[in-house]
Amino acid sequence: MNLTQILAFAALSLIVGLACAWDRARVRAMRARGWVMLAASVVAVYWLQSSSPIRSLDFWLPTASIGLTVIVWAAIYAPRRAEWRAALPAGAVIIGIVAFIALTRYIDPLCCVTPTRPPDIVTVAFGGVIVAALIAGATLLFRGRTRWLNWLVLGVIAAFVILKLDVATQALSAVLRGLNGQDMAQASALDVRWLGFSYIAFRLIHALRDRVTARPPAPGKPAPAGLTLREFVSYVVFFPALTAGPIDRADRFVKDYRNTTVLPMDTASVVAGVSRILLGVFKKFVIADTLAIVALNAVNAAQVNATIWMWVIVYAYALRIFFDFSGYTDIAIGLGRLFGIKLPENFDRPYLKSNLTLFWNSWHMSLSQWFRAYFFNPVTRALRSPRETHFLPAQGFFRQPAFIILFGQVTTMLLIGLWHGITWNFVVWGAWHAFGLFAHNRWAEFARRRNASTDAEPTPQSPVRRRVVTVLSVVATFNFVALGWVWFALPSIDLSLTVFRRLVGG
């Protein structure tokens, strides 16, 4: 989001948040809020998408985001006639908006919400028919076959891999160019940049997996009501969190969504929301963008010729990525607040933590939480359950806590690395943190065993000593993380090694 877009969304949010004072019963106000949220989010999917050299892709990718979301909704809830009827207004609004965006092609003063002119209406209608068929197919295919949803999860992961792996993205670009009658030799991985897909995909996987693993309702209690189409689409493509998270949970989101006491917004909430946005704008557009001048990047990594300055630009990168990302999150959370949605926090002073485990509990929290919920915990749980499987005996090396911890941490961190892009640098970055976490874990275990004989609390230390130890731990943790960014920030292992050599005086 640029400043204009942020301003537009903030103004919209404020109007909705404040303009409902006339409606004492809040019913109409709440309904209006829901529709505005849906409409703004759908428009945002198109508006925020960047252009592509592949013709009309900046229309089709947002359309795919919306279409995929509706398909997943249909697959999860397998709606019957009555439910479809209930979803009709939301469906009509979504179709109406998409159709309108497509029609701006013919209305010059309004053209275009998308960066380039949308395709002609016949093509759009054809695309619409395909999406509709997929939705209908999903409804029938997954009805009563909840476990099959796992295939859909795999499908989303496959799409994710294609978009994150440059070779595959380039091949996809070639295919799309071919379909379009464009020069395939020009295909590049940069052609297909699907706005927000990283986050959309993870929200969808979360919704699908939660459906698969849902407990049957306790006897006598009704099954919890699912999300309506309007709620689900609003959740998945909620415009403040569309481009850079946080990754909310659907059950948490609807709690706020259905909360009728949020309107009209009280002064405190408005002030909180607006000041959060301003804080974010300041962090992102003033601090981070300024730090960017001196922060490590692919160009200056090879140019710096002195150890001390290399440290400076590595630290600058560490601060920049924090202010950039957390500033962006502040803006998202602030915008959400103005709509009465309390998006989850993503950062909790991560650079002031005294060990790597605490760092990962406070950095991009919604992502690490997601990986814990849908990867680390199930894997660890499976390995810890004293059940024999055809993969694993009930006992032995693979059941040792140390192995399980190492395995869980390494695989989780590698996946978190790969989530950013399928490159060796992100793999090494993930491994860097995995082994850091494992080392810290072993150290903590060692300290624990040492204290095991003693009673109660660990032996108290003098406050001064404790303070010194804390400060040193924070400094060491920050440096470990900052050096880790050297892998993250650069495109090749060689370049990262060059930076490391320079950092140690080479």
């Binding site: 002030v271 001048i293 001196v294 160009v299 200056n300 140019q303 010729n305 002195a306 300055w309 630009i313």
Partner: protein, 368 residues
Amino acid sequence: MLGKALFLFLVFNLIFILADPAAGLGRVSAYNILFPGRSRLPYGDHPERAYNVSVLNLDAMFASHEIAAGTKPASEFRVLLIGDSSTWGWLLKPADTLAGQINRARLTTADGRTVRAYNLGYPIMSLAKDVLILDRAMRAAWQPDAVVWLVTLESFPADKQLFHPLLQNNPAPTRDLIARYGLKLDPNDPQFVTPSLLDRTIIGRRRDLADLARLQLYGVMWAATGIDQDYPADYEPAAIDLDPDDAFHGHKPPAFGDADLAFDALAAGVRAAGKTPLLIVNEPILRSNGRNSDIRYNFFYPRWAYDQYRAAMIAQATAQGWNYIDAWDLLPMSEFTNSAVHYTPAGAKLLADRLADAVTQLGKISTP
């Protein structure tokens, strides 16, 4: 609460307008303290690649230059180089510019002082701009022992003296120059920028302030990389084949009028140097042998205009007793890069060699 914030904001802006701290801020600089001063005045069309940014604040420009560091060592023979982009060193690394080449030669004066050249060139072709920089440099506490001023005809047209934002946005010092040296320029020229009240608020000044901050931050990258210019992988070489056009800035042959060229600005520069020995150099130009080279020397100059300018310079130098070197034909075509006045490192070396004697001779005129 909102009212209070608004009130404070207004008061703050009022103070900002009255105090105009942006001007004074230019003197606050981390250059020469946290990181080394720049080898040349800050200028950058692509800051993110050049680690350099153009600013309009003269104080900030000079404060970021290495000449503003510390005091002059007793053994130094301090030479200021004034000129346009060719002196500044377009496409040249700092060590390859004329100043860099002179320093590399480790010249010594007769009394044993080491020649140390400072690059005060700036990529604008206007003598008034040269005088503005020279005048400032002479009045600062930098104790120059000599000045070398490189000029070319393109800096002379009277009507383009004020064409650049650097002069237009520094109306006070430029008007001061006009008054003190009697320059034939209009102190009320509409090109001068008079900021409105709104422009003088912190909001109006935000770009200037941001530029000052960026100049400081790029200092880190300058220190870290030694890069202060965007060096494109390849560039369009200077034109050899020329248009059959004999006009120069609207002037047609056979002759310039009396007021067409700013010889008054040249005289002002000589006065600005004062007692400090001054060497004036007519800088090398590309002499094309391509199409229409019988009409023009190069992209800039029709032959008639340049020949006439050169003759006038020699006549003036003789009449006024200037230290003058005409190096116009010093370099072969192969030593020019993307313009008829931008030379290669080897070209800069040739020019430095050509000037070496004259520069060391300046040491005889100057008292240590």
